[in-house]
Amino acid sequence: MTNQKLTVSLPPHVYDHASVRKVMFDVLIALSPALLWSIYVFGIHALRVVLLGVSSCVIFEYLLQRYVLKVASSIDDGSAAVTGLLLAFNLPSNIPSWMVVVGCFFAIAVAKMTFGGLGNNPFNPALIGRVFLFVSFPVAMTSWPTPFVDRWQFVDAVTQATPLSIVKEGLRNGAPISGLIEKIPSNFDLFIGNRGGCIGEVSVLLLILGGLYLLYRKVISWQIPVSMIGAIFVFAGILRVSNPNACMTPLFQVLTGGVFLGAIYMATDMVTSPMMPWGMIIFGALIGVLTVIIRVFGAYPEGVSFAILIMNAFVPLIDKFTKPKKYGKVKNV
């Protein structure tokens, strides 16, 4: 007989192999193909921004938890690293380093820690960081480097406008859509990533690849990406049909900007998205509609970040109205 003490606890006594760290790690793995492509497109600056983003977020979370909140540090669950990577993906690679650090601080300290840390934040921290930088440093956040130029040297990048900003500016100046189409990359180029933009949004193909991996690993479910992209497609299609001279094609709307990045990785963030499948569909669809409204009728060329943040605020309400059906409430035939 053993001399060791027996352990007593409530059931269950076996557990699934899931863990928070595995979920976060899966997200990092899913984003790596897009990351590698970005480094290929933008060069050393993309690497700089990503490394800075991830390390700043992790370091800030550690410092805040250990020295300000005086609790055990939870950086090993990987959520700070994911926030850092996603924030970096939302930035142009020619952004000054100090801005990245400030953005990371805001994302971790204000958007996550003030609400109580992992699991308690109502808004997606990476998006809050991005929007904060956008509102505070609009010029730096709206000048993107020309892709495939000066990639491996630390020189000031040559800038070039993104397809969305070309369209927005062009429409504002009264140019017809047909004239603008020549200035923007083809849909195929947009799809595989032969284009400029923020670090993470360039290659739709690789983002989808990562998304399929996450679906297979059951980290995300199909409802939010499909409903969001579908809603953008349909709504943009309706607008295009009603006014072909003033609106781009639905395919353009879906392939440009951070639609796929937002749909697959940011809107599906577990903490800030609804719990039930129907809730997720409503959430995704409304994000899509808001994105198109902001893009077409609003002042900004890109609306995904704002749309997601607005809908994050509605998640508790959506959850309230999409509760699961309780067993035993049916009338038996």
């Binding site: 352990t7 059931p11 928070v20």
Partner: protein
Amino acid sequence: MIMKMFNRLSSFPKGGVHPQDFKLSANRPIEFLPPPKTVTIPVSQHFGAPAIPIVKTGDKVKIGQVIAKADGFMSTNIHATVSGIVLRIEKCMDVSGYKRLAVVIDSQGEEWLEGVDLSRNFKADIVLTASEIIKKVQQDGLAGLGGATFPLHVKLSPPKGKQAEILLINGVECEPYLTADHRLMLEKGPEIMVGIKILMKALDVRKALIGIEANKIDAIEHLSKLAKDFHNIDVIALQVKYPQGAEKQLVEAMIGRQVPIGGLPIDVGCVVQNVGTAFAVYESIQKNKPLIERVVTVAGESLKRSSNFLVRLGTPISYLIEIAGGLPEDTGKIISGGPMMGKALNTPEVPVVKGTSGILVLSRSFSKRDPVLPCIRCARCVSHCPLGLEPYLLMNLVGKAMYEEAEQEMIMNCCECGSCAYVCPAKRPLLDSIRLGKSFIAQQRKERVKP
């Protein structure tokens, strides 16, 4: 044959998890375990009021003799499981985690009560009437052997106005490691069939269905073959999913009806019984043998011989573990029941009772819980809950002592299957909080009724 079976597999529609099977003792035939020198028989082995001892220290008892009488309708008789002398009647540690009244008997010889049929003859004819059957099972102390230990005669006496249409036999055994019901179905098939017929007669139902999980193909084939001779008894293969064997889920999987909230299966016209109970009914009615023994699985990865034993009630669990090869050095937990809903014991010196379906020995590495992280709102607990509850919300509410809101969220509906805590990636003690909330609310409900 297998393809046909898989095409017919049904299951409960919502939730459920797929823990690993670990059916280590599936191929070990049932071995009869001779009783040890002393047995400790608790007077409370069933749901309801504990029985009242009717013997005193020094009395001689025979196997099958009533040593404690049922206290009221919701109670069962307790019988001596060995012959010998009553040593003492005192509070002893049992599976409940506390000391409760038990009768300790010193085993001497093997003297059975008069009238018990010890022969190996198989008796298929049922002579007793329905009411006689119910009275006999009440006398013989039968209770549900699936684990809930509901007194059988109560289940067989539905309240006025409610009539059962169909009998469902639970041969599912969805908990990992447990194989007692599996072996019973393979080795005592004919007796189980007769037991089912007896139950059908007692309930006055025309049809019975036996539900078996698809990981027990040999049992499905064996009982399907036997069922051909018994018309109106059919075998249904069910998908391997936990908690397939939980009463509400079984009813939905087998006949597609949901038991209403706060109701019982009789409300949708069916009664559920475990295969072990069916076998015990056969022994009671055909062989005049009270409930004095049951099949118990003893299993564990580090255990030398994971086995299925036919054990006299009152045998200490330490004795079973000794016979199965001794308690391994790296033991962390000893569990009575399965790993999903079983009770971790604080000592192996507790007796086997009517509800003991299995003993598990888990190693130390399996026994430590991981650190708890905050809820990441992944909704895995919600999607895996078979009853449509939201465990993350219930834990939240109980933590804030918001018991009324928890009651509105139907926390009392929870069957405590443990699926939520099983899947949680943040390793949150969801079931701990839900059980705490349920006990508070049960207390509050009792106090509401008080004048």
